[in-house]
Symmetry: D3
């Protein structure tokens, strides 16, 4: 499983439960952050007098690594800069190369649109392109390919305004404490911990309503961008 976020903390709020669920079953997960969100998403840190961009990045790297560990994933940073995140051809190629090496069965990233954030759509576009450059057209190619992967987007902060419609709820009840731990590692964005704890409970409520399964307490929502191929319904 590969999770690509525009900023180093994105995977925590939006997909840490799905990551933990995957790794707790023995799966491997890699988190890539295209930037540290050092300028636009590190509110608490910038309140400290004399703060510098380098120091913010350092702290953010540590926090994200710790959060990734909490859910059993590796963390890798591209450090491309934020606000704006601009992902050039070389970075797309680097991401594609990483996909060829890692050969994920699932790729998770931001939705295509976000009227509140300039970097999330840039991350989406880069991931979508890298993934296609990796998979080729399903035939023999003049370049190295990886097996096709599933492609989903995780939940944005204001879902309806990003055109996000959930098509998959992942039951994260058994690993919820690990998501809480991962969120706790993001000291610079404490105000989001309660927000995403509540959101997990609401999505849990939604998943219970769909299935009638009272055992589901917390869930994460995703939107699948490509059809799901199954053996039977």
């Amino acid at each position: 499983m590969l999770v690509v976020g525009a900023h180093s903390a994105d995977f925590v709020w939006r997909a840490a439960g799905a990551v933990a669920r995957h790794t707790s079953r023995g799966g491997e997960a890699l988190v890539v952050a295209l930037s540290y969100g050092e300028r636009g998403e590190s509110g608490e840190l910038w309140k400290q007098p004399g703060q510098t961009e380098e120091n913010v990045k350092c702290i953010r790297h540590e926090e994200a690594s710790k959060a990734a560990s909490a859910v059993g994933a590796r963390f890798e940073a591209f450090d491309l800069g934020d606000y704006p995140l601009r992902v050039g051809p070389e970075a797309v190629d680097r991401l594609a190369e990483l996909m060829r090496d890692f050969a994920p069965h699932v790729v998770l990233t931001h939705p295509e649109h976000d009227p509140f954030n300039p970097d999330h759509p840039a991350a989406h576009a880069a991931v979508a392109q890298a993934r296609l450059l990796t998979s080729g057209a399903g035939v023999a190619s003049g370049f190295r390919t990886a097996p096709p992967s599933e492609f989903l987007v995780f939940e944005p902060h204001q879902p309806e305004l990003c055109g996000f419609t959930p098509t998959v709820y992942v039951d994260i009840t058994p690993v919820f404490e690990r998501k809480v731990e991962a969120m706790a590692a993001m000291a610079a964005q404490q105000y989001l911990q309660e927000y995403y704890r509540q959101r997990a409970e609401q999505r849990g409520n939604h998943a219970r309503k769909v299935t009638g399964d009272a055992g589901i307490r917390q869930a994460e929502a995703f939107q699948r961008l490509l059809p799901n191929v199954v053996e039977a319904l």
Copy 2:
């Protein structure tokens, strides 16, 4: 698994493979036809001189029963009339009662829109309402309920014009011969057999492209109307 069609042959073209896949694994399947399609969809039969509606219905009942058998399903007809199919409150209640008794894990029917057929949307509306009357609001109710079921629509004849976007491909390669047999039973609509054989191959091509699995030869396409709740991605 419950499949509800506006006319007795609808399930054959659009979902016989998914039915066969389910029953071949030991699952139970029930096909309900709201009408026989006796007036509007029995072209070949009406070319016979002296043909009557009763006789057409008779033949259509036999054909559909045979097709259902071919894929391991039971067939039940509501005989509500076609062109137009008008499903009143009593028929909705009958359908709801049937759902309470049968308690399907999946319900399949037509999409909500079809600019080429007046009966398909009527069937969709009836099934959607009956299903909700059956499931209640996920809490204790003042009426008998069934466990919540998944809800998908099968592929219409001209998918893009019905607003149909596939979200699930079912690989029907292992049971394709049974679908062919079911289609062969619909003698009154022979012209559709080649059409839906080709369509199964095209959807197989699409499913191969998504998964890279060269073993998939035929598939059927469905659109899930409610999110899928899963344990992990």
Copy 3:
């Protein structure tokens, strides 16, 4: 060509130019009004003291007949009542029967949605159903059919809010005076004459912009609901 409006004046504002263009080339056109719009759309008439519904209908019949004549069409009224227009199964069947007899090559009516008018969507639904009951499934049927017709909706009063997107502009420049004459016949809705004169000019501007043809001065906009089959592009 068959034009069906919820109220007797609808065809004038929205399609009189297309009707005139068709009849001026020798085509036949029939206008059906499901109601006279006697309660909700006869503003000026109700300002007269002692006005009655019967009298309003009478005047509206005359006006509509005159307007239809101006553009070379016949006018027929179903008189089903307005605000609300409720089109029952019998009226749908009557409309279908009329379609079987008249066998139009094009059917024009209101769009499916209109947040400002309760009767326009009711008219759309009735026309769409009658048309499908008439055309059958493209195979031999157990009922009398008419050849398939094209199906378009004409422009509503506030197009964007009705989900109307033009896909066809009809150049009505050569017959615009006949549309003006038809509009002038609707004495009860004088305030709309200037509105739709301006609208014809704007659509003319749009059509000029699409084609570069400076000769187009007035146009009417339509949205085609089914694909157009052509011999070549």
Copy 4:
């Protein structure tokens, strides 16, 4: 302000804050419940042995009246039955007559679609039609009209799946305790109180993000169905 819900508790979860905000400024508010939700949405009550529909309705009436009082509104029940709620022509006319008498400046109800509830869309359709029958076509009419009103839908339980996109956030911070009190009155649906308390906080978070106004703690989301006419931006 007029709020119409399919069931007697709907207004509490979804619009009690906006009602309280309006009445606390001296505005008048009327809540209409088309049914009591006695069969499908009274979970706790049906767990009591020997429970009857009449008794459930009684309790629900009291609860809703108390909740309405808490936010300064009057409560009126149409008692049309739930699961399914079927709103016939007479009930639409009764609602229209009520609108003519009350002449609300704003009408609030459910969104047009809800794949989890059969009664919410029925309520929407009835309110939309009654409102149009009341407002007429903006000209003199053959029936009594009320001044045009604004028309908004309130937030459904699973917003993205109902096609709900917020276009207005109402800051309910100053009256949030009154909404809490109204929710507390709905003893039969205690499990929803925490859910909608959290939702108010999330919408507060969203409204803060849009405005930068840190004073907003709780909000309710609405979608406006018609354009807003303003004097200046």
Copy 5:
């Protein structure tokens, strides 16, 4: 209030009334033109023999300044070239810096799509990105921010084909003469003056229909891209 157009005349046709309404109440307005529209939108000027790009720009600058004055706004030109307008990172940063200095409460620009104009979508993308770079994520940032602003798009030439749906009508009746004066200043595009005079009247008709307020004669239409936060409905 900040209005950003791809070409120097865009603000006149689409937003001059809203600007005049704002300034006539004592508000401040700044108009930014990313280009002069010197190549693609200066039809009349290019008919003069020996015309040069420099001269066209000069005339366009004067016209736009005069039009801006007529509605009480300042005019500033970025002169980035048109057909195509290509807005690089530096120009986005310049626009962001301007937003930080000017701190507008409302930002107006073109819609995201326009199948008739290559420059309008480029302007939209630049404005949207600059605005987000300015507002930050609603928390303390590593860069200078401005308070969040409202974000609306103004009406394009063929609204339905640009996906434009009005959500706000601004009543410009009291300042319409100032808009007429501003339009008159655009001598190079006289053919648009009548077009946009008519459009203002039609939007006035629409706004009257929504409100029943017969005093509204002219209006401009806008689409709000972010929810509106209000104190009460």
Copy 6:
């Protein structure tokens, strides 16, 4: 008629019939390939040991020229590279210049979206921009223009997932053998010949269903992006 594909074979599968229909009536057709698809879409060729990019391009050029000849068109290659196809400003200008010289009455290319192919959307964007740079704003311009052209997109491989909805079916029955011949020329993608033969038959079925014309055996589907201006319906 101008057809622009991202790769040299695209026009064959998707538009060869419409091209043949046009040229068989004496029309002129030019096919432009932005790349040869040498890396991502030349599966069979890369199976040969020692294959090189140059050699693949050579073969692809020959194949495409032969296919173009089969349907009476000229073939021109831009050779911009594939997977990824990156179309810079110079290539857009070259395309625009070509459009000014060739002055096509119709431009055909890929749809705007394709979740399976990174190059198709890039081709669409380039063609759309070049076409607008060519047509100008419908007024005298400071650059050379061509007369406005119609703009349609051809059918992608998985239509629903690319947001493709057919609005025009071209009956290619009389020229189908020429399309078969063109497809046969694409030796490197033999697996697609059967796929697109079947698709032509399905679209023929759809076109028959729309028109009732039993003579239509094969068709191609297109989506028109701009309204069609006609003299009469």
